[in-house]
Each structure stands twice: as structure tokens, then as C-alpha cells.
């Protein structure tokens, strides 16, 4: 295995959890809901995903556990912000704190346990092709799921009527409501979908990335996913580019250090964030003064008939 191939494989693995979580959050935000609890839903997905895999011996069922855990957390969020019209920012932050604590409790008995990680795809001949074989045909299911997910989301948002309704609700929930669309129902579904994606992203960590569970193992990836949604200016295509750029910079800086290039590691560690800021500045400049790309109703509480 050549070094370049090894680097690309590492980049794909590092980018996948970011892409999964960010893709879900993109749909949530397009529906006008700001759920800052991605980190909490992810870590719950990690804990429950690991437990599920440990109990059943199947990484696939583990992933389903992870999705379910993320959705359960999202349901709590939806109940608070959509049902009771509580402030979304505060609820999202609380959800993260709750998730970090609860996942530690659930996973406490499983620290140090071992599982068989998710198997990588193997197609005879195809996977054996030098260089591109393992990159294209030798990944685990999470990687393919993340790509399929983004394509599906793009198709849904821009090519279906329901996607149009969801975007309309995100841009002006009062208008959409006046037209007779069920704002809260759509938002409920979007939030649950986002939770499932975050849970799957979390489950990727103990099931494929580092096959063990340790409290706090998401280590801030949920927050990066949130930033990526902004970075992508709420568009699925740019989200893939952003997630992979982020993953690439993370991995390349490690390799640059091992090569002994002599660039300060603190600067290298800051690179992905620096890249995010630069892209944000470029995007806002390119758009001129016509306003931001954010859904217009993002983060605003909606109460029907008020």
C-alpha cells in the first residue's frame, strides 16, 4: 500500500462522521430549526451503537441502535422546541450536556470491551485493483451510506415537492403555514432525521473508526459538523467538499509532522478552522451585500395561530 493511498483512506475515514452528522443537520436547518445538540446526539449514538454491537455481535444492528439513540435524543429536542416552543439554542446546548452525561452512564460498563468492527466491502478483482481498488470498493458501509445520504438529500431538497415545502418552511414558516403546510409536522420529521444521522455518525466512531467505546470519544466532532453546515452555506454539494477538505487538512497536517516539515503543530492543528473562516469570508464577499444564505426562519420559534 503506497503512502498516498494510505493517506486517502485515512482522509475518507476522518471525513465520514463529519459528513454524516452535518448532512442530517443541514436538513434540520433547512427546515428552519437550529439544533445545537449534534454533539450530544452523536455521543449517544456512539454509546448505544457500541452497546448494540456488543450485545448482538453485529455492527449493522449496532448502527441501527445508534440511529435510534440519535432519534430518541432528537425527539426530546423536538418535544421541547416544537411542542413547547422553548428556545432552540438553549435546548440544543442542554441536549449536548445531557448526551455527554447519559452516554457516559450507558457506556460505563462497556469501557474496555471488544467488538468486531464493521467489515469493509470486498469485491473480488475490483477491490484488488491497485490504488483505486480499496479506495472505491474497499470501504465500510458507513462511507457508502454517507455518500448515498448526501445524494438523497440533494435529490429530496431540489427535485421533490416535499423538499420544496421543507425549504419554504425554513425560509418563512408563517407564509408556509398560511398556505396550509403543516410546519410543525415537517419540522418534527426533519429533526428526527437529523438525530438519526447524528446517531449514525456517532456509531461510526466505535464501530469502524476506533473499535472501542470511551466516554467523550466524539471529542467535539458534533460542533465541527455544525460549522460545516454554515461553511457549506446550507448546500449538500458544498457539504461534501467541506467535510472532505476538513478531513484532508486534519490528516495531512499529521503526515506533515511525521515528515518533519518543521511547521509548528499548533498552526497545523488550527488549519481546518482557519480554512473554514477563509471560506466563510470568501462566500460572503462573493454574495455581496444581498444577505446571508441561511434559511430566513432559522432558529425562530413557531407557534401556530399566534
Amino acid at each position: 500500500m503506497g503512502l498516498l493511498e494510505a493517506i486517502i483512506l485515512s482522509v475518507i475515514a476522518a471525513s465520514t462522521p463529519l459528513l454524516l452528522a452535518a448532512a442530517g443537520e443541514l436538513v434540520v436547518e433547512r427546515a428552519g430549526v437550529l439544533n445545537l445538540g449534534v454533539e450530544g446526539m452523536m455521543i449517544m449514538g456512539a454509546a448505544c451503537g457500541f452497546v448494540g454491537c456488543w450485545l448482538t455481535g453485529s455492527a449493522f444492528i449496532g448502527a441501527l441502535f445508534g440511529i435510534a439513540a440519535g432519534m430518541a435524543m432528537a425527539a426530546v429536542f423536538a418535544l421541547m422546541t416544537l411542542g413547547l416552543a422553548v428556545n432552540q439554542v438553549a435546548t440544543g446546548l442542554a441536549l449536548t450536556i445531557l448526551g455527554v452525561g447519559l452516554s457516559g452512564l450507558i457506556g460505563a460498563g462497556f469501557v474496555g470491551e471488544r467488538i468486531t468492527p464493521a467489515a469493509a466491502l470486498y469485491i473480488p478483482y475490483l477491490t484488488d485493483i491497485p490504488f483505486i481498488g480499496r479506495i472505491l470498493f474497499g470501504q465500510d458501509g458507513f462511507v457508502y451510506a454517507s455518500i448515498a445520504l448526501v445524494i438523497g438529500i440533494w435529490w429530496f431538497l431540489y427535485r421533490t415537492r416535499n423538499g420544496l415545502i421543507l425549504r419554504a418552511i425554513g425560509d418563512s414558516h408563517t407564509s408556509a403555514h398560511a398556505l396550509g403546510y403543516r410546519v410543525l409536522t415537517v419540522r418534527w420529521l426533519a429533526v428526527l432525521f437529523g438525530g438519526g444521522c447524528a446517531g449514525l455518525a456517532g456509531a461510526f466512531l466505535p464501530l469502524a473508526y476506533t473499535p472501542f467505546f470511551i466516554p467523550g470519544m466524539t471529542a467535539g466532532r458534533g460542533w465541527i459538523a455544525l460549522a460545516l453546515v454554515v461553511f457549506a452555506s446550507w448546500r449538500p454539494g458544498r457539504l461534501v467538499a467541506g467535510a472532505y477538505l476538513f478531513g484532508a487538512v486534519t490528516i495531512l497536517q499529521l503526515h506533515a509532522q511525521a515528515f518533519g516539515l518543521g511547521i509548528p503543530s499548533q498552526l497545523m492543528t488550527a488549519m481546518p478552522y482557519l480554512a473554514t473562516i477563509i471560506v466563510l469570508v470568501l462566500l460572503s464577499r462573493a454574495r455581496g451585500t444581498s444577505g446571508s444564505a441561511a434559511p430566513a426562519s432559522l432558529g425562530m420559534v413557531f407557534v401556530p395561530d399566534r
Binding site: M1, T210, F212, I214, P215, A219, G220, Q257, A258, Q266
Partner: protein
């Protein structure tokens, strides 16, 4: 002799305190932890130390711990909470609690504080840490013997003196058996991020390292090594579970004896703010079983451990050569003195890299 004196003094003191026991309840001892107690690393080992303390002195003390307390200003509130709720002895177990500990200690002059790995003391604040570089020297010896590619991979957290001294001790140990050994160092700028630690481990292996060692807290690197079929060292605790065929040994942070000693001193009134820096000899630093290596390497590791323990081998024995090949100033006579090790900010000869930010 000291060994026997302490329990005797403690027994005497207990006799005295138990006279007033009707009014005076048990001594309340508090702990502030950086991570979750289940991290299997730094915090977990402090928790084991607390458990050892409870086992030994459980009838005379009551303990409380607060976990997941982030470093910096926020920790002050947590430390103060323990101080306000009647704890008379408080252990703050991470470097970043240093200034908050000193500030709270000023407000509560009657409460005794013990801060791990720091350097600021006060009339009621003592410090304690382990001479972990002693264990790293042994790991270096093993790595030097076991590496086939002659390249070691080192995952480092932050460029602070303790980590730098660890890298130097490792390479000095390795050079003692293989003068041409090379080390590749990756700084991840975090103590704990399993994903990033795994990525760093993969990068090191992809670039030719065949032994991994780390100064970060999760077992991620051990698992990468296991997957890639190479060897690695654990960190903080025995990580053999994560790599039964991978772990060579691991440095074990053994805080229990110190917690018992300090608490006994607080119970019998002999507690003083001291600067404790114990190593293999005092058993604050332990080595996990030497595994996955041939008998001659195992023997060499055991001999090295014995030599450091009995004082015949000092890790930083002069002359210590800097990267430019010139010997560094030797303040401790035959060895570098403790201050030089605690403030180490240079690489020794043979490390072909630069300390970040220097």
C-alpha cells in the same frame, strides 16, 4: 524506619482525634478530576488511587470526587464547592487546575490542598507528580531492541516540559541499545481525542514507524497498532486488554500510596506543603508486565528497571547532549537536576525534529 513511624504516628493521632470524635466527624477528602472516571487513562488512575485510599482509611475519612471538570477558570468554582462543603483536604489532579487551586487556597487558609503536576505552592498547597520519564527510558530500551525499521512513532500531546522530557528519556533509552534509532513525532494538541490519536497512529505507521508510543490518554493508538500487526506501549494504565498481542509494557500511574500518605499526614497533623516527585523507587510509577518480547529483551527491561529503582542508573546522566551535539549544563552534579528535568525545553541529540513553536 519512616515506614513504621507513620502508622504509629497516625495511630496516636487517631487516638487523639477519636477522643473528640463525638463532635468531630470523619475527615472529608475531595478530588477534582479532569475526565470521566471511565477514561481508562489519567482520571481513571486517580480514581483507583482514591479507591485505594478509601480501602486503607475508609473508617476515618469520607471522600468526594467531581469528574469532568474542565481546566482553567471554570474549575475554580468546583474546587471552591468542595472547600465550602467541609472538605479539609482537596486533591486537584490536573496541571491546568494550578492557578485556580492557588486562588481558592488563599480564600480558605485552613484547608489543605494538593495539586498534581504543578509547580506553584503555598502554605496550604503542596504539589505531587510522578517521574514518568523513568518508565519512558525503559520503554525506549525495549523499543530500541524491538524495532526492525529503526523508526519509532511517538504521539505527543502538548509541547510542555513533561512531554518533552518523556520524548528525550525514550530516545536516550533507545540509543543505549541502538545508537542509530530514529523517532517520528506527531503533536495532536489534545490529551484525549481517540479519533485523532488513531489518525496520528496510522500516519506514523504509514511513514515507517513499527513501534508506537504515546503521551495521550486513550487506547486508540494501541488498537491501530494491533490492527496493523505492530507493537506499542500503553499509557497511564495497563492497556493489555486493547492489545493482548501488541502491548510491550505500559507506564502505570500509581497514586494510591501517595494519597494514603498525604491523608495520613493530614489526619495526624503532620501535613506540610511539600513538593513530591516520586518514581519507580517509591512505586508511584509502575511498569505493566513485559509482554510480547523475547526473553533477552525482557531481561534487559527488568535490569534497567532495577537499575533505575536502586539509583545506579539515572535517566538524564551527564553529559546530556543537546541537538547540536554539545553537552547541556549539568546542574545536578552527575545528573541533570530536578529543575532542569521539570523545565525541559530542548531535544537531545538524535531527534531530527523541532519542538513546535520554538
Amino acid at each position: 524506619m519512616k515506614k513504621y513511624l507513620i502508622p504509629m504516628a497516625a495511630a496516636l493521632a487517631l487516638a487523639v482525634t477519636s477522643v473528640g470524635a463525638a463532635a468531630q466527624s470523619k475527615l472529608k477528602v475531595g478530588f477534582i478530576y479532569l475526565g470521566p472516571i471511565g477514561d481508562l487513562g489519567w482520571t481513571y488512575m486517580h480514581e483507583l488511587g482514591r479507591q485505594a485510599l478509601v480501602k486503607e482509611l475508609g473508617d476515618k475519612i469520607e471522600t468526594t470526587y467531581l469528574e469532568n471538570v474542565s481546566e482553567g477558570p471554570d474549575s475554580e468554582r468546583s474546587i471552591e464547592q468542595l472547600a465550602r462543603t467541609g472538605h479539609q483536604l482537596i486533591f486537584t489532579t490536573s496541571f491546568g487546575y494550578m492557578d485556580p487551586t492557588i486562588r481558592v487556597a488563599k480564600k480558605y487558609p485552613k484547608i489543605k490542598f494538593e495539586h498534581a503536576t504543578g509547580y506553584k505552592r503555598a502554605p496550604n498547597v503542596g504539589t505531587y507528580s510522578g517521574r514518568f520519564h523513568e518508565g519512558r527510558y525503559i520503554q525506549g530500551v525495549i523499543a530500541g531492541k524491538m524495532s526492525k525499521t529503526g523508526t519509532l512513532g511517538y504521539i505527543a500531546s502538548f509541547p510542555i516540559p513533561e512531554v518533552i522530557a518523556g520524548i528525550n528519556a525514550t530516545i536516550l533509552g533507545a540509543q543505549s541499545v541502538n545508537p542509530n534509532i530514529k523517532v517520528k513525532i506527531i503533536w495532536v494538541n489534545t490529551w484525549f481525542d481517540p479519533g485523532k490519536e488513531a489518525d496520528a497512529a496510522k500516519a506514523l505507521v504509514d511513514q515507517g514507524a513499527d513501534i508506537l508510543m504515546q503521551h495521550t490518554d486513550s487506547p486508540a493508538a494501541m488498537q491501530v497498532a494491533a490492527q496493523r500487526g505492530i507493537l506499542a506501549f500503553g499509557q497511564d494504565s495497563d492497556m493489555i486488554k486493547f492489545g493482548p498481542k501488541t502491548q510491550l509494557t505500559s507506564i502505570i500511574n500509581n497514586w494510591g500510596p501517595y494519597y494514603i500518605r498525604a491523608t495520613k499526614a493530614a489526619l495526624d497533623g503532620t501535613w506540610k506543603p511539600e513538593d513530591t516527585w516520586d518514581g519507580l523507587k517509591e512505586k508511584m510509577v509502575l511498569m505493566a508486565d513485559y509482554t510480547n518480547m523475547p526473553d533477552d529483551v525482557k531481561k534487559l527491561a527488568q535490569d534497567t528497571e532495577a537499575a533505575i529503582t536502586n539509583g545506579s542508573l539515572h535517566v538524564f546522566k551527564c553529559p546530556v547532549l543537546g541537538q547540536d551535539g554539545k553537552p547541556v549544563e549539568c546542574k545536578g552534579g552527575a545528573n541533570l537536576d530536578n529543575g532542569q528535568i521539570l523545565g525541559m525545553n530542548f531535544y537531545v541529540k538524535g531527534i531530527d525534529d523541532k519542538i513546535p513553536g520554538k
